[in-house]
């Protein structure tokens, strides 16, 4: 279990849509859910018909919360209508992007919201089977979801002829067993078929050829949790919560050097500076901000003078970064950026599935180079070599994991170049002994 107080500190600036039921007593039970508008979106979807639901989704400007930000309604519309094959809905609950912990409270505190979203998605595309692919480490969440699924069957929200609509839908959980790459949608499909999680070449896209060779939509947990609200309250309302082409709210996970770490639901386009200073309470111990990871470790990092930006997909893209997965990490002035780059690369080198050479060799090589640089044994042209190696991965690998390793590295070397040069000049880490670690949030060694 997670500690509710520690994750859900709350802020008056929040706009609660998908987290609105989190604090209710017995929030996981179907009775609580139904008493608070639960499964009403599904009832309305049955009146609107599949086409109506897909149009509503498109107009809502809901974009995928897994990281890529693709328009959800548009993705659903790619599923062929005339086909003899069964269709599938797969919920991506692999949540493994470093710094991201938002799908966890969604499943822990309101599992029926996710189930309702999945059933509506199934109805919209004509699927009769859904799977929730949960990372293996989230076992307690699988238990919560399994209980909620059993309740939904018992009350006729899953199974045959749901609520007398004539629509049938089966749903179950599926567990992974430790592999970041399985969060990538095509690798996830292979994993779901009992294979190693190697990605597939696209096209064909999963909407046409997905699991078991059948049309499949894959959506993130948070994406699907928004669906019942859009159906119930309308596309216009939802789009109006955010900025143009970026509908709704987003769960932002504030972590790192921030006074009030936690998961906060804020409108799309919420200003980053305000998020740090007012929602998160600023940087602890009166330290200055040095850098921000805006959406999980795969995104290019921002420097402290780039935080006057609205947090939506297009605004982050405009300044050369990404909104990504909602994991916002604050890094203070005492932190060694070479070490941050090294730790990020260590992750990608570990998680590279090894299928293609630029990613497999490049990440291992960059990790060794960054280890050496941080350890003080770097050469004067190592920072340039790191850039060069990163550009040789970028755009040259089969799946986006290669890019995800290259992009943060390029941004850190370019924006914090002097720290790299300093390591080379001193033959040691200039931040040794300064770092933050315990005590960074004030409670430290207590």
């Amino acid at each position: 279990m997670s500690d509710y107080q520690s994750y859900m500190k709350g802020s008056p600036l929040e706009v609660k849509v998908i987290s609105a039921r989190f604090g209710l007593p017995n929030s996981t039970s179907i009775d609580t859910f139904v008493a608070h508008d639960g499964y009403k979106g599904l009832a309305k979807a049955f009146q609107m018909g599949p086409e109506g639901v897909i149009n509503e989704m498109k107009n809502s400007q809901l974009r995928g919360r897994g990281g890529a930000g693709f328009n959800t309604g548009l993705k659903w519309s790619f599923v062929p209508k005339q086909t003899d094959k069964p269709k599938y809905v797969v919920c991506n609950a692999d949540e493994s992007e470093p710094a991201t912990c938002k799908d966890r409270p969604l499943m822990e505190y309101d599992p029926h919201q996710l189930i309702e979203g999945i059933v509506i998605a199934g109805y919209a595309i004509g699927a009769h089977q859904g799977y929730i692919y949960i990372r293996g480490e989230y076992r307690y969440l699988m238990d919560i979801l399994d209980r909620a699924i059993a309740e939904a069957y018992a009350r006729g929200y899953l199974g045959k002829n749901i609520q007398g609509s004539g629509f049938d839908f089966e749903l179950c959980t599926h567990t992974g067993a430790g592999a970041y790459e399985c969060g990538e949608e095509t690798a996830l499909l292979n994993s779901l078929e009992g294979l190693r999680g190697y990605p597939r070449v696209k096209p064909p896209f999963p909407a046409v050829v997905g699991v078991y060779g059948c049309p499949t939509i894959i959506n993130n947990v948070e994406t699907l949790c928004n669906v019942p609200h859009i159906v119930l309250k309308g596309a216009e309302w939802f789009a109006g919560l955010g900025t143009p082409k970026n509908g709704g709210t987003r769960l932002f996970c504030l972590s790192g050097h921030i006074s009030r770490p936690g998961v906060y639901e804020l409108p799309m386009g919420f200003p980053l500076r305000k998020m740090i200073e007012e929602v998160g309470g600023g940087i602890p111990r009166g330290k200055k901000l040095k850098s921000v990871i805006p959406g999980g470790s795969s995104c290019p990092l921002l420097s402290a003078d780039e935080i006057d930006v609205p947090m939506d997909f297009d605004s982050l893209a405009k300044i050369g970064s990404m909104l990504g997965s909602g994991g916002v990490v604050m890094i203070d002035e005492d932190t060694c950026m070479v070490k941050v780059a090294q730790r990020i690369m260590k992750f990608y080198a570990h998680e590279s599935c090894g299928w293609c050479i630029p990613c497999r060799e490049g990440t291992a090589w960059l990790k060794a180079l960054l280890d050496r640089l941080h350890g003080g044994g770097g050469l004067a042209d190592d920072p340039d070599t790191a850039l060069d190696a990163s550009y040789n991965i970028l755009g040259k690998s089969l799946c986006p994991l290669g890019d995800a390793a290259a992009m943060p590295t390029i941004s850190i070397v370019n924006k914090f170049r002097s720290e790299f040069d300093e390591h080379v000049r001193l033959g040691a880490c200039p931040y040794a002994g300064r770092g933050s670690g315990f005590g960074a949030r004030g409670w430290g060694a207590a």
């Binding site: 997670s2 470093p98 710094a99 790192g256 990490v329 960074a440 207590a446």
Partner: protein, 160 residues
């Protein structure tokens, strides 16, 4: 020996999929939960039930980091050192666990009680630094909290 409960769970899980082999990874993890590791017998049994050669099951085990072929400690300390945790002392927590338990990454104490592993992001970043002991999350860690936890586990234990 696999228990009857586990075997009937195998049947239920396999029935969820149009393709039996889809059940391989869940079955491996559930078998490991019961046995503490994945035995030869479990591999044979799973392969037979999902109708693939055992070697294909073994290949999967090599890919997924949570699956292991040999017994590990009763309490598996999985300490996250990824970026959110790193910034708040994840590496110090790892070093502290290593010192207190007297073991390094992927090692087990000689009495078979504790194992230690450095792991990637656990999805507990807002409670950094964080770790899992088996499936239980422990967050906002300090060296003192780790010490207390080790003492408690030694004294009272907790079911796997």
């Amino acid at each position: 020996m696999l228990s009857d409960d586990l075997k009937s769970m195998f049947d239920r899980v396999i029935a969820r999929y149009p393709l039996k082999r889809s059940a391989i990874v869940p079955l491996l993890l559930f078998a490991q939960d019961e046995l503490g590791y994945i035995s030869d017998e479990a591999i044979e049994e799973i392969a037979r039930r999902v109708e693939v050669p055992p070697i294909e099951v073994v290949e999967d085990i090599g890919y997924y980091s949570m699956l292991h072929r040999h017994p590990i400690g009763k309490y598996n300390f999985q300490v996250c050192t990824n970026v959110s945790c790193q910034l708040l002392g994840g590496e110090e927590i790892l070093a502290h666990c290593s010192k207190r338990l007297g073991i390094g990454h992927k090692q087990t104490t000689s009495d078979g009680q504790f194992s230690l592993e450095e792991v990637e992001c656990l999805g507990a970043c807002c409670g950094a630094p964080a770790m899992q002991v088996n499936y239980d999350f422990y967050e906002n860690l300090t060296p003192e909290r780790v010490d207390r936890l080790i003492e408690e586990l030694k004294a009272n234990g907790r079911a796997r």
